[in-house]
Every structure is written in C-alpha cells, then in structure tokens.
Amino acid sequence: MFEPRWKTTLKALLYLSPALIVIAVFVIYPMFRSVWISFFKDYNIFKHTGSGFGLDNYKWVLNDGRFILALKNTTIYTIVVVPVSVVIALFTAVLLNSKMKGMKLFETLYFLPYITNLIAIGLAFKFIFNSTYGILNRILGLFGIDTIMWLNDPKYSLPALIIFGIWSGLAFKIVVFLAGIQGINKQYYQAAKIDNTSRWRTFTKITMPMLSPMIFYIGIISFIGALKTYVEVVGLYGNNPGPADTAMTIVYYVYDLFYGANEPPRAAAASVILFLIILVFTFIQLRASKKRVQY
C-alpha cells in the first residue's frame, strides 16, 4: 500500500485516459444528455434545442397504460427469472462438478448459448414454442397437457418470454458457479465425507455458504439484466412485443417510444425512471447482503 499523491494520481489518470475518454463520450455524456432531454416537452435531438422544461414527460409516462403494463411485465419477469435461473444454474454447476458420466457432452451443450447470438437462439425458441410443431408442446402432450399457443396467446406470451429468459442466461451463471465451486478447497469436502455428511447437507452447509458471495454477485447482475430485458423480446417476437403488448418490457417500451413513436423526451423520461428503479433495488440488495453473505 502507498499513499495516493498528486503525481501518482495524474499518472494513473494518464494511463486510464483512453478508456476514460471512450466511456465519457459513449456512456457518461449520453447518460446526462438523456436526463437533460427528459425534462423537455419538445426536443430536437439533432439541433439540441428544446422547449417546455418541466416534469410533464414523467407525468405522461407514469400515466401511460403501456408503461404500467411494461413495468408489471418486467417486474414479474425479474421476480421469476432471477431466482429460478440462479437455482437451476447452481444445481447444474454442482452436477457438472460431480464428474458423472456424459458430463463432457453436457459441458459443450451448456456453453452453446453463451457463444451464440441471442437473436439466433430466439429463432430456435420460436420453433420450440411453435404450437403445432414445437417440441415443447409435444413434450407437454406426453403428460396430457393440451396444445398451448405459446407465442400467440396473450396469456402465455410472458411465460414464454420467462422460459426463454431463464434458459438464455443459464450458461454464464453456470460458468461462474462452476469456477466458484472448483475454487473451493477440496479438503472441506474430504472433511465432510469423513464426517458422514449427506450430499444435501454438503450442498447446503458447505457449498452454498462458500459460494454465497458469488451467488449474490450473480444475483445482482442478473437482477439488473432482467430489469433491462429487451433482446429476448426481439429474439422471440421480432418487431412487436408479443400479442397485445403482453411481452412488453420497460426497455422495449423506451425503444418503442424513441423510434416507433418518435418521442425522445418521453423515452428519456422512461429510461430515467428505470435507472432510478435499478438504483434503489441494487442499493437495497447491497445493504441486505452485508448481513447475509457469509465470511
């Protein structure tokens, strides 16, 4: 450790400057700009002139039925996708780590979505969800469940999006968990074995607590990711957010306002609202984790 001094600070800034400039131009500036834009009733994004400074856009967005729907959808999506995908990923990682037969094949399989474009996977899922030919309905059919119009029935479009969202995020989570599990000292497991610890107890009392910082990290990342869901919608539905907007998410709503309705100030207001939501929840999670995350 050494004390930061002016000289060293300047030197560090110099080294960081290429990255800082890029970030400033493409992230920081647009961020402030969009906050700025969000307060104007009318704004010309090419000439940078606006009129009607105030909170009108926010009022409009918060009263827009489509925004409320998007908010509701995104909330449901997040509440389901984050825990379910974390749990599935955790179990899969444990399974992969147990070196059972056939795991090599599986290792390739679970990694595929990670290196494949989400839009392409969305296309594949369109086939899976296809009501007549899709494999999902075939499988459900085996259990005596009637044909479901996954993508065309408004009742099922959000569940379809959720299934897709869970699946597409799995690969990354599994990779991280697997690395985490392999980082745990083998001796803990040997000690547990000597002490006659059941597999379930080994998982809940040793693996989980030791992974808790990682589980938390993945939790936050995927929570933020879920609140910003957009590509999944496009991948599954193309240029509409599901039948009767039933798969509309907040980011899709923002995008739609911006390009579809050509309302940049309102889109900006919506995105600022999303930003605040994410900020508040992440803050709460960080506070909560201080108490929960082990060692």
């Binding site: 001796q187 803990y188 040997q190 000690a191 610890t197 009392k205 060692y295």
Partner: protein
C-alpha cells in the same frame, strides 16, 4: 481398535507413494508416522481414512477388513494439515457438525461439543469463526471436531506444522494429554523426528514409500535397522565414519571394535554425538576445530580420521580452537552399516 496394514500399496500414475507396507498400529496408543517430505505419509493416512483407494493390499481395523469400505463408514476422525475448518461456521458449529450429520439431538450434540471444547481448552472461543482464531486454537477446534463423534481411530496429518516453535511444543503436550485421556488409537504424521520421538509410543518410519522400521522411540534411536533411520533420528545427527572391516576388526577414526565373523568389507560406522566421553585415558586424541554453545550442552567439532565429527560435551567445560582432547566411547555405541545402508550386526 488396532489398525493393521497388510502389503498395502498405493500407486499414482508414475509414483508408488506407498510400497508394500505391512505394520500394526497399537490399540490405544499413539503411533508417529515419520519420514521426509514426499515419502508417502499423507498417502498412508488417507488410505487408512479411505479417501484414497488402495492399489493392492489390505487394511484391517481389529479383524475387520475395511479396505473397500467408504470413508464415512469407517468411524475415524481426521485432522488435516491445515485443519480444514469450515470458515463460515463458528468453532461450536464446526465441532457440532459431525454430530448433526449423525442426527444426534441438538441438546445432546451441544453438550458433547461443550465437553469436547473443555477437553481441548477452547471453551471461551466457541463463538469465534476460524478466521478469528490463532493457528493453535484452530488446531484444537479441529481436534475437537475429529474427536466429538468418538471415533475409533484418530488420524492427524502434520497438525503442528503451521505453528511457531513454542506453540508446537505446547500443542505436542496437549495432543499427548488428549490422547491419553481419551485412549483413542492415534496415528500422528510428522516429518519432524524430535516431535515423533517425544510424542509417540511407537514410531513407524518411512522413506520413498517404503516402511523402514517400526519400534518404540528409544529402541529405534538405539537400534536403527539401517543408515537412513540412524541418520533421520537425532539432532545433531549421527556421525558417519567411512572405513572398512579388516581381519575381524574395524577402525573408526582410532576407535577400534571387534567385528567377529563379519567378512572384510567397506563399512560406515555410525557414532552418536552423545556417545563420546571426555576421558584423560581415552584411546583417541583429537584437536578441537570449533565449538558451538547451546546453553544446555556444548557441541565440539573434531576430526576423527578424516571425518569432522560432532561431539556433545558438558556445557561447563570450555575449550578453544586448537585445544587437544582425549576421547573414549560409551559401550556398544558403534553402529555398523554396509554400503547399501543395511545394519551389520556383530
């Protein structure tokens, strides 16, 4: 419960970590498993624990063959080299963990954990996590965790190697005391000969996967079966003088010994530093080359023949470099080894 190994062998791809070991660990006693780094001590321990599967040979607990038994069924307690305490659990939770696995009711588990903590003197540390304890304290928790389920056998893998010199001595006594109080058959792995000598009822010494000798510390020190064992035990180490048997006699730097019927051959003669006596009538005169003071005794360096030997003398006597000393040897203190290192008995 006694533990018996029969022709036990463990091969990893290229290395034979344990090679055809046959020995018995005495019931209710503490056996020190001693040897240099990489000689297969931990492997032997893990074989007994069941964490490694034997390549060939058998392991018996009393008369039961446990070679194929799963580790969790063997009823052993194991203390790892770096303790392997669960970092997210308090000392108490660590100690209770094995009992909860066995579905011991919470109340009883707690009581037994507390009793165990008392035995290893950590009652006041029960709410600390391993990260908040010193090495010696962690080690006691690890021992408590290993003992709480009342194992039939306690295995300790170099448990003192992470501790400083003073704590080592202290913990050595503690382990001895705990072992005596519980009477559990104990196998204690170490590469420190002094530690093994001081703590063990019986020592098994290994080298490169091969078991060399099994004996009480005194017996092993006085009567090593080969040069390796003779050199491994004792600090300062035994003096080895290279010489030869000629006509039923050997001359080691002036000390003579009848070798009976042994044929003429080159030999190594081992003489322990404490076997020498300052003796005005001594048969060998030598010149002091250097002195080393430890307080309790003094180490004197002098040439016997061509070999610079270490001689332990009383700390009260002061020599200086160049002084001449006259030495004799205690009875039966010359050990003969052939060039393969095997002991030659007269």
């Amino acid at each position: 419960m006694k533990v018996r190994l029969e022709n036990l062998t463990k091969k990893f791809e290229e290395v034979t970590a344990v090679n055809d070991a046959t020995l018995e660990f005495l019931e209710g006693k503490l056996t020190g498993l001693l040897g240099p780094s990489g000689c297969g001590k931990s492997t032997t321990l893990y074989l007994i624990a069941g964490l490694f599967k034997a390549t060939s040979g058998k392991i018996f607990f009393d008369d039961e063959d446990v070679t194929r038994k799963e580790p969790e069924k063997r009823g052993i307690g194991l203390v790892f080299q770096n303790y392997a305490l669960y970092p997210h659990m308090t000392a108490e939770q660590n100690i209770m963990f094995p009992l909860q696995n066995l579905k011991v009711p919470k109340k009883e588990a707690r009581k037994r954990a507390l009793d165990m903590a008392k035995l290893v003197h950590i009652s006041e540390l029960l709410n600390r996590k391993p990260g908040q304890m010193s090495g010696g304290q962690q080690q006691r928790v690890a021992i408590a965790r290993a003992l709480v389920k009342e194992p039939r056998i306690l295995l300790l893998d170099e448990p003192l190697s992470n501790l400083d010199a003073r704590l080592r001595l202290e913990m050595r006594e503690e382990i001895k005391r705990i072992q005596r109080e519980t009477g559990v058959t104990t196998i204690f792995v170490t590469h420190d000969q002094e530690e093994a000598m001081s703590i063990s009822d019986q020592i098994a010494i290994m080298n490169e996967g091969l078991l060399q000798q099994v004996a009480s510390p005194q017996e092993m020190y006085r009567n090593p079966v080969n040069e390796f064992v003779a050199k491994f035990l004792g600090n300062p180490p035994i003096n080895i003088i290279e010489t030869e048997i000629k006509g039923g006699k050997v001359d080691a730097g002036g000390f003579l010994m009848n070798t009976g019927t042994l044929p003429d051959q080159p030999v190594h003669v081992g003489v322990r530093p404490e076997s020498f006596r300052l003796d005005a009538n001594g048969s060998v005169k030598a010149v002091v080359q250097a002195m080393e003071y430890t307080g309790r005794e003094t180490l004197l360096f002098a040439y016997l023949g061509e070999k610079l030997c270490k001689v332990i003398i009383n700390a009260d006597i002061i020599f200086k470099k160049g002084d001449s000393v006259s030495l004799s040897l205690k009875e039966k203190s010359m050990l003969l080894f052939d060039l393969e290192g095997n002991r030659l008995y007269v």
